[in-house]
């Protein structure tokens, strides 16, 4: 609540103030709540002047519109998190976008968790090599989060960064240990705990302001078996999305949500695999990416995006993480050496 201010101190032009005082409007709360038309009739000011008075006197908490030019000029240099797979980044328009919810759905074993782990590593890439330089929150409902795998990806990322940016100053802080320390992990055993963590994020941001990625792997697991009432489930999912998108836009965060697949029986009797959680949920994320098998290769298809065409690309999961499919069309089956060989890591395109 603001204290009462006299209209004369608000910085209005003198003739306007005189007219207002003549019509018995002295303090700002005399004017508050009036529409410009009403004030204009009461005080004899023009509409434009009345609008200015009303605006100056109200504590404006309503959102002000911003011009599109302003948005483009303000846009920060990096607004995407790279996935280290060039074709996937191109498909998404640069990578996983900030200030949006990206849903990744797919059949089991296709690489959803791998993509999430890769994003947790990529979000920490320093800005001098074109990264976001932020930290990640991993909300785990499935239990597939393995630190050993994360270490493989982190080692490869550190190696990549050192190869392409050897003369920059802030790269010395980018190590496997720092990457591991920059991933905040929550294991949730029910959907209530998932909701609780999401509500807790603003508090977490106060102590860890560098967080720029939230991963929920997967949103589907707890919402699929515990709910007899579909409408309650949809309501909870929509409220959850609302919380997430508010946080995403306010704090410049990217949100990745993984989903499972379910069989939908078509009218003709045939069945089709579609993303779980229903049609209403389908409207909640900003971007939808579906991962599936095509023969022996993994394919990612963009099925909903406000600014990209729906199309597909192939990718593979290697020891280093998510990478482009190499030019050798199929990976040779080789016998297992003592350790996973270093040579399997792809040479990355430097961004």
């Amino acid at each position: 609540m603001s204290s009462r201010r006299a209209l004369s101190v608000l910085g209005l032009p003198a003739p306007v103030v005189t007219k207002l005082l003549d019509s018995d409007f002295i303090y700002d709360d005399d004017v508050r709540g009036l529409k410009p038309v009403e004030l204009s009739l009461a005080s004899g000011l023009t509409l434009k002047e009345s609008a200015e008075v009303v605006r100056m006197s109200t504590v404006s908490s309503a959102e002000q519109p911003v011009s599109v030019l302003q948005i483009i000029e303000d846009e920060c240099d990096v607004s995407h998190i790279v996935t280290f797979c060039k074709s996937l980044d191109d498909l998404l328009g640069g990578g996983i976008p900030l200030c949006a919810i990206t849903e990744i759905s797919g059949t089991p074993g296709i690489g959803k968790t791998q993509l999430c782990l890769q994003a947790c590593v990529s979000v920490q890439l320093p800005s001098s090599v074109g990264g976001v330089g932020g930290e990640a929150v991993f909300i785990d409902t499935e239990g597939s989060f393995t630190v050993g795998r994360l270490k493989d990806m982190a080692t490869s990322a550190v190696h990549h960064v050192q190869t392409i940016g050897s003369d920059c100053a802030d790269l010395s802080g980018f190590t496997v240990e720092s990457i591991l320390k920059g991933i905040h992990y929550f294991r949730c055993h029910s959907y209530i705990e998932v909701l609780a963590v999401i509500r807790h994020i603003p508090l977490l941001l106060q102590s860890h302001p560098k967080i720029q990625l939230i991963v929920i792997d997967s949103i589907a697991f707890h919402f699929r078996h515990d709910f007899p009432d579909m409408m309650a489930r949809t309501g909870l999912l929509c409220r959850l999305t609302q919380e997430l998108i508010q946080q995403a836009t306010k704090f410049n965060i990217a949100v990745i949500v993984t989903n499972q697949m379910t069989t939908r029986i078509e009218s003709a009797g045939s069945s089709q695999l579609v993303a779980a959680l229903g049609e209403t949920w389908g409207h909640c994320p900003t971007l939808r990416l579906t991962l599936h098998w095509s023969g022996r290769t993994r394919v990612a298809t963009l099925t909903k995006a406000p600014h990209r065409n729906n199309s597909s690309v192939s990718y593979q999961v290697t020891v280093a993480g998510i990478r482009d499919l190499s030019n050798l069309s199929h990976e040779k089956a080789t016998s297992i050496p003592e350790e996973i060989p270093e040579a399997k890591k792809r040479k990355l395109t430097s961004d």
Binding site: S144, R149, Y185, L195, A196, T297, I340
Partner: protein, 383 residues
């Protein structure tokens, strides 16, 4: 945390009285509702309701750790399988806190793997020097104590003197119905803490579910899927909180489907008519093959899936079909007096793969001369 009673939380007395008059008893009851519903039930204003729900959410937030903190825990919580390549690929063998599944046709060795893993766990020397126990839930009455004795005598002859101690650390349940299995899982947490359980084996999770809830109609299908998914959630919760490794076994089911046209000439199929090898794309022939049972949702629930299949009458193959850490790989093994023997040669891995829910499994051939439709292992045909 979400099961905590509202009456035990530090709330205003007035709010507690209103709660007592409403049907809400636990934290979960309140947080499952929308704010509007809570306002109506408890006669609260919007601000009051928001503050109340925020307080309850704070109670439910799980523990915050960084990945760095987890890496130490992970090293202590893994169970080596005894083969260096396999253990390296799995980053330490079987991990606590996740569900590992062995799927395969009958007779391929799932129970043998379970017995072998039980013995490995009991013999494992843990850094903290406390010996762990194994919970073995046997739904098919396939457990044979004399086999355990045989394996230890043959594989670890130096431990024969302490065999009584090891046997006393393997506990057996033999539930006969779905509801008794559910009851066991409910009571498991108490027993797991009392007896220091480190490994939980369920052999097999499929048999009870398939016997009692046949997937005849879509309604029963959904009921079975829900039951399995809630078992999976319960198992994962116990596994993570109490640092237990969970191993389950699954059966196979027949799938009668038209051959997918995208199979290229790499994978060769035996044509039914003349028994000769042909390049495999035939969108006209129907293939009868077996895949892991229990459906797509169950495949999502398990963290790691090993598929066991026959290569010929003597040797079998373990395929890593789904794993958060390992690529698609195959290992050969045989079953001997000393349990499972993993062959050192004949192992392959690759970065391509296939859907772990639809993987075509080779079954045991009774008469090798009868033609039958089957797909060869992929590694024979890669260039």
């Amino acid at each position: 945390m979400s099961f905590r009673r509202l009456s035990k939380l530090p709330l205003d007395q007035e709010i507690k009285e209103r709660i007592a008059r409403s049907p809400l008893k636990t934290v979960k009851d309140v947080l499952s509702l929308s704010p509007l519903q809570v306002m109506t039930l408890l006669h609260m204003s919007a601000d009051e309701c928001k503050a109340f729900m925020d307080k309850l959410f704070d109670v439910c937030v799980p523990q915050h750790v960084t990945a760095f903190d987890l890496s130490e825990e992970e090293k202590n919580g893994s169970y080596w399988l005894g083969n260096h390549a396999l253990d390296t690929m799995l980053h330490g063998g079987l991990h606590a806190g996740s569900i590992t599944e062995f799927a395969g046709p009958s007779g391929v060795g799932k129970t043998q793997w379970c017995l072998y893993i039980a013995i490995l766990s009991v013999l494992a020397k843990k850094k903290s020097n406390c010996n762990i126990t194994v919970m073995y839930i046997d739904t098919e009455t396939a457990f044979r104590p004399e086999r355990i004795v045989e394996i230890i005598n043959n594989k670890y002859p130096e431990h024969t003197t302490e065999i009584k101690e090891y046997l006393s650390r393997i506990y057996l349940y033999q539930p006969k119905t779905v509801s008794s299995l559910s009851e066991i899982l409910e009571s498991l947490e108490v027993i797991a803490v009392e007896k220091d359980v480190g490994m939980l084996i369920v052999d097999s999770i499929a048999s009870l579910a398939r016997k009692e809830i046949p997937a005849t109609s879509s309604y029963s299908n959904i009921a079975r899927t829900n039951q399995l998914a809630s078992w999976a959630a319960k198992l994962k919760c116990i596994a993570q909180q109490l640092n237990i490794c969970v191993v389950v076994t699954n059966q196979v089911t027949s799938r009668f489907a038209p051959e997918e046209p995208f199979i290229t000439e790499e994978i060769q199929a035996v044509d039914v008519e003349d028994g000769e090898l042909h390049p495999g794309w035939s969108d006209k022939t129907f293939s009868h093959h077996v895949t892991p049972a229990l459906g797509n949702t169950w495949t999502h629930c398990v963290n790691t899936r090993f598929i066991l299949q026959y290569t010929d009458s003597k040797s079998r193959q373990l395929i890593i079909a789904k794993s958060p850490v390992a690529p698609f790989a195959t290992f050969s093994y045989t079953i001997g007096e000393g349990g499972i023997i993993i062959e050192e040669h004949d192992s392959f891995y690759s970065y391509s793969g296939s859907d772990p829910g639809l993987h075509k499994i080779k079954v045991q051939q009774v008469n090798p001369h009868l033609p039958c439709t089957q797909l060869l292992c992929f590694h024979h045909v890669m260039i």
